[in-house]
């Protein structure tokens, strides 16, 4: 016992030292050890000022102390209001610059930031600012607010490794750091990775066999093409967009009754499969209803801006909620399209970024003209499943223009969409963001710091889309390519994919980001092309092995000297289980479904009103649809999804957390979905004419997408043998098999079935199974 503890302690200590060592070299820590030869305002100084100083000396006029702002050069160079003999910044002269004197002071009454702020500068940060002043205290525009320009492709030594432009940018940094990229991943693992990334599904045995047998030099590219042709591609791409668009199947708020917004989701899948260019994809969603001779499809796309929560609580103050909806749209626009935290200017001028409160309400004005009310109706029948303005999808539509809508019955189908009033509703600044505290009246417009709103554009949502896709808009393209990068590498080039502002993180590869952004615009906002560029790169194809050197030098894998390795999203956990067991029903779209869920969850949390007071589980096919079709009731989202970090769709989300908790282990061990899939796959394999070993091997391949090695086979087969004995002795097989509604074949050896089911559940529970490797 003592000895074991001792070793554990030793191991911990070892790990700790290793960590301490690597601590020094992650990029964010690089600064800790060395001060750059030339201090950059954007990359070195502004992060410090923004985080520690701008809160009182930044853009927010109401909170500004001593009349001093440090975010604008001219203001910072000026004589101080309270002490005209002194200047906050005197270029080249730290000792004459009040900023330096105050941050380095030993006198706590004189020291900045003041103690009361709970903020503190480190000695390293002070040195950076000192050196910056010495070098002239030069300001630069924030990188993300300057339009991207296509940088030249960097030079690299190891040209052999490079497959496309992406690789030059990645390799250049690796070579500078003395790191070598990993070798290409083995074919099996690469196939699983790319298949999950492009379709959200594991490859079938046929695809695996075909790919393994294809020895041609472009075998991988052919595979990529075929995966991108699969309808599952649209589903996988839509998944992220549903988070961004806060899509759900209920209205949210108090009673949280049903809404029939799913045809909009069908459209998103359709749009990705058709490879609709990004500018069109967004323009339709923002302003499809305002386009000349708008088609029904274009109007359906605008459902995007009606996915927000809508109250049905009796007695609410109408205007308060109407304002809430407009606010949600405005904030979503900022976060989803611009990665700008516009919402921070909802109550006051932005404290860090150059967005005034007035500008917030100018953007708000674009979304403030919808023919809607705060409370249309309290919980009711089918007429409440969409809120005005709404569109009706007829059976005729589904036969013709809206063929992609998976309408399954002849009932009335309505969807909430956008539609403006005939006359312009006035927009006022709302003081402190309070719905009835009207301030100055404002006209529709956009933040000047990004790009002013051209007179050529109509002052409506259509004009706003034109502004968004103006090639001089510094954010639109960068933000989208960054999020695509995030979807494939688990982390954006800008890690804070929802905040490109001053408080956001700096890009790890700024030139690559700009190159991709410009290239994306230059090629007609072609999404499939961008995706293909990413997955064809050598960077993407690397193996995910983590050598101890790489773990030490780059623990966060910012430099990408290896492929990232991380747990797949909640919906895909379900998809892998259903697909590998053969249970998956590959229907595209349609209304959401209600699979197995622990009893009482909806019932214990409901007000008792509405269709969704009780959970009425589906049966048959609906039990086996992809995770993205699982019904989302906002106030009680599907539990397994939440446990695996899915969005609760309360508001726009551009990035999910990736946690690892014991509750996830419990789901994998005991969720009937997984147990049933294990049973069904076991039954299928037992009915095949093969040896137990072959069955186990096949199950392993179906689930992990690779052949097991000898050790793995030994462990699993001896477990199987052991379980056979256990179930023979204990006769508990029947009990174990009673899970799920899928029938058990009549003539089957139940002892063997239970034993094989146990083996398969074990394989489902492997860390590798639900990890992109």
């Amino acid at each position: 016992m003592y000895r074991r503890l001792f070793y554990l302690m030793l191991a911990l200590t070892g790990i700790t030292y290793a960590i301490q060592a690597c601590n020094n070299s992650s990029t964010s820590q690089v600064a800790e050890e060395e001060i750059p030869d030339i201090v950059s305002y954007n990359f070195d100084v502004r992060p410090i000022l923004s985080d520690k100083c701008f809160i009182c000396h930044g853009p927010d006029a109401n909170k500004r102390e001593a009349g001093l702002r440090l975010d604008i050069a001219d203001e910072a160079y000026k004589a101080l209001k309270e002490k005209p003999s002194a200047h906050a910044l005197v270029p080249f002269k730290p000792q004459e610059s009040e900023v330096f004197l105050r941050i380095s002071s030993q006198d706590s009454a004189f020291l900045m930031p003041p103690q009361s702020s709970n903020l503190k500068l480190t000695s390293h940060e002070i040195s950076i600012i000192e050196k910056w002043i010495k070098q002239g205290a030069k300001y630069e525009r924030h990188w993300a607010f300057t339009p991207p320009e296509k940088p030249t492709i960097p030079k690299v030594k190891n040209k052999e490794w490079v497959k496309n432009e992406i690789d030059y940018f990645i390799l250049q940094k690796l070579e500078r750091k003395g790191l070598k990229p990993n070798l290409e991943a083995d074919k099996e693992r690469l196939l699983k990775r790319v298949s999950l990334d492009l379709t959200g599904l594991p490859p079938s045995l046929e695809i695996m066999d075909k790919f393994m047998a294809d020895k041609s030099s472009n075998a991988y590219e052919k595979m990529v093409n075929s995966l991108m042709q699969s309808p599952a591609y649209g589903e996988k791409m839509a998944l992220h967009w549903l988070d961004v668009a806060r899509y759900a199947d209920s209205h949210g708020y108090q009673d949280d009754n049903y809404r029939s917004q799913w045809p909009w989701r069908d459209w998103v899948i359709h749009a990705f499969n058709k490879n609709m260019p990004y500018d069109q994809f967004i323009t339709w969603q923002l302003a499809g209803d305002l386009m000349p001779n708008a088609t029904k499809e274009q109007i359906l796309a605008t459902g995007f801006n009606r996915n927000h929560k809508i109250t049905e609580e009796g007695g609410v103050i109408d205007e308060e909620y109407r304002v809430e909806y407009v606010t949600d749209r405005t904030n979503t626009f900022g976060k989803a399209m611009l990665a700008a935290t516009l919402e921070c200017a909802h109550c006051h001028d932005h404290k860090y970024d150059p967005f005034s409160q007035k500008e917030y309400y100018q953007v708000y004005a674009f979304f403030n003209n919808v023919k809607e009310v705060g409370l249309e109706a309290t919980v009711g029948g089918p007429e409440t499943f969409a809120k005005k303005p709404l569109m009706e999808i007829s059976n005729e539509d589904v036969k013709k223009i809206l063929a992609f809508v998976n309408k399954q019955d002849t009932g009335r189908l309505i969807v909430s969409v956008m539609g403006d009033r005939d006359t312009l509703q006035k927009t006022h600044i709302l003081n402190r963001g309070v719905y009835d505290a009207h301030g100055e009246e404002v006209q529709a417009g956009t933040p000047r710091a990004l790009l002013s709103f051209s007179d050529k554009y109509p002052k409506n949502r259509l004009g706003l889309s034109k502004w968004l896709f103006d090639k001089k808009n510094p954010l639109t393209s960068r933000v989208f390519v960054n999020r695509m990068w995030q979807e494939f590498f688990g982390r954006g080039i800008v890690k804070t994919s929802g905040d490109f502002g001053m408080q956001g993180e700096l890009p790890s590869h700024p030139e690559l980001l700009d190159w991709l952004a410009v290239d994306f615009m230059d090629h007609g906002w072609n999404v499939k092309r961008l995706v293909k560029q990413i997955v064809l790169s050598s960077t993407y194809r690397q193996s995910a092995e983590i050598s101890s050197k790489k773990l030490r030098t780059d623990p966060e894998n910012i430099l990408l000297a290896r492929a990232p390795r991380y747990r797949i999203p909640a919906e895909l956990v379900r998809d892998i289980v259903l697909a590998s067991s053969g249970l998956l029903v590959k229907k595209i779209g349609g209304p959401s479904v209600k699979p197995y869920q622990p009893a009482g969850l909806w019932e214990s949390a409901t007000s008792g009103r509405g269709l969704l007071a009780n959970y009425r589980q589906d049966h048959g096919e609906s039990l086996y649809r992809r995770g993205m079709y699982t019904f989302i009731k906002r106030t009680v989202p599907p539990p397994t999804m939440g446990i695996f970090d899915a969005s609760n769709r309360d508001q726009c989300e551009v990035k999910r957390l990736k946690t690892n908790t014991p509750l996830q282990a419990l789901v994998m061990l005991n969720d009937p979905t997984i147990l049933e899939a294990s049973r069904v796959l076991a039954a299928k394999l037992l009915q095949e004419n093969s040896q137990a070993e072959a069955k186990i091997k096949k199950a392993f391949r179906l689930i992990t997408c690779r052949n097991p090695n000898e050790k793995e086979m030994n462990l699993l087969t001896s477990y199987y043998t052991d379980q056979l004995t256990v179930f023979k002795q204990k006769s508990t097989a029947d009990k174990v098999l009673t899970v799920g509604e899928y029938p058990i074949p009549a003539k089957i050896n139940k002892t063997a079935l239970a034993a094989m089911m146990g083996v398969i559940t074990t394989i489902y529970n492997l860390e590798e199974t639900i990890t992109k490797t």
Binding site: L8, T341, A605, T606, I643, L666, N670, D671, L716
Partner: protein, 483 residues
Amino acid sequence: MEKDFLEHGLNYNRRRFLSRLSLGLGSVALGSLLIPDLFTGGMDDASLPPGIPDFAPKAKRVIYLFQNGAPSQLESFDYKPKLREMMGQELPPSIRAGQRLTGMTANQASFPLVGSYYDFKQYGDSRAWISDLFPYTAKVVDDICIIRSMHTEAINHDPALTFFQTGAQQGNRPSMGAWLSYGLGSENKNLPAFTVLLSRGKGNGQGVYSKLWTNGFLDSTHQGVQFSSGEDPVLYLKDPEGLSRFERRKMLDNLAALNDLSYKEFGDPEINAKVQQYEMAYRMQTAVPEITDLSSEPDDIIKLYGSDCLVPGTFAANCLLARKLSENGVRFVQLYHQGWDQHGNLPQEMAGQAKDVDQASAALITDLKQRGLLDETLVIWGGEFGRTNYSQGKLVRDNYGRDHHPRCFSIWMAGGGIKPGMVYGESDEFGYNVIKDPVHVHDFQATVLHQLGLNHEKLTFKHLGRRYRLTDVSGKVVKDILT
């Protein structure tokens, strides 16, 4: 002795180590967070939630008995004889002072004042007035502090509940329990730091929402975990029928061996972290049912909480369960009892609701006290806002309703360094406006954090460019009610 010490220390560090690992960012978090835990000293200010603990905490744990739907203060803790005298007369405009009303009564032609159908009496050394609906609470009046001057900003359930729990009316911010889990961690390696228990009365109900116990932008290890005293106390906790613990253990050992092969190939520390999460899940499978099993409680305890406490899912059962969870180190136990939204039929419905909760709420105080735990456990009882002093709908002596009233309402707190036997704050004689010692929701939240040793201005989390805190941008600790 030495062994105990070693095991304790090791477990502690191991737990912290593993929980850090579970942040999912693997080594990212390790570098900055783990080291200070293993070797005290040399903490980096920037990487830890600052202000931990800034001062000696009075309370270690919280049990929050949330009365969902907003119980009327006028039939519980805020005695207003004037309303009975003026029964049926119009609410003076000078008192309402243009305060907004909900859409349910805004168009009402008149606002007839209505006094409590139930009588009030004074109790204990504090001589606090309590209505006849709460006889058991009356008996523990010298252990609790009644605040009659609460006020909030929201006037509808969803935003008001969200405001109480997360400090903001809208948005997906972390709940109070999540903040405490983040700031203080768990005291028990087998149980989550933040647990949630739901029950429902017969009164007019309003839903609860899982966003009320959300981790928001914090790591999902801080999310409230719903517990119940039923069959499966935590979702997916129960192994399938026919699978013994011994077989489960065997399976996990196999699994660990297989995962270890994968670790040898990839060297990814996340693989080991995963194995450890399975181990914790396994331990929870034993620990949780032990705690949620109320059947072995002695008779005097059953008697104290009332026989309802043996019926799974009742408020009484949840109170008893809350005590057990809290006793076992769960940092924040959040109860919700639904059914307090008496827009009509108030006298009858409220009697039922009070009967559901009165005995068990008082029992919880008594029980904690007799175990010597009340000093370190903060107990809170209250709803999301109050109710109007005028009747919603038709007024009859024994049948009336009350609409939502955010301007003034009552809650009580006990233990955890709160002054016992105190009545704090005062409303006007109409029970409409606070006239002395107002306590805003953010003040209340600041006070709760303060009792746990956390400075509400320092317990922050940077998310999308801004440092967020439970109390948003305001809040003062209510020093007057602290021991």
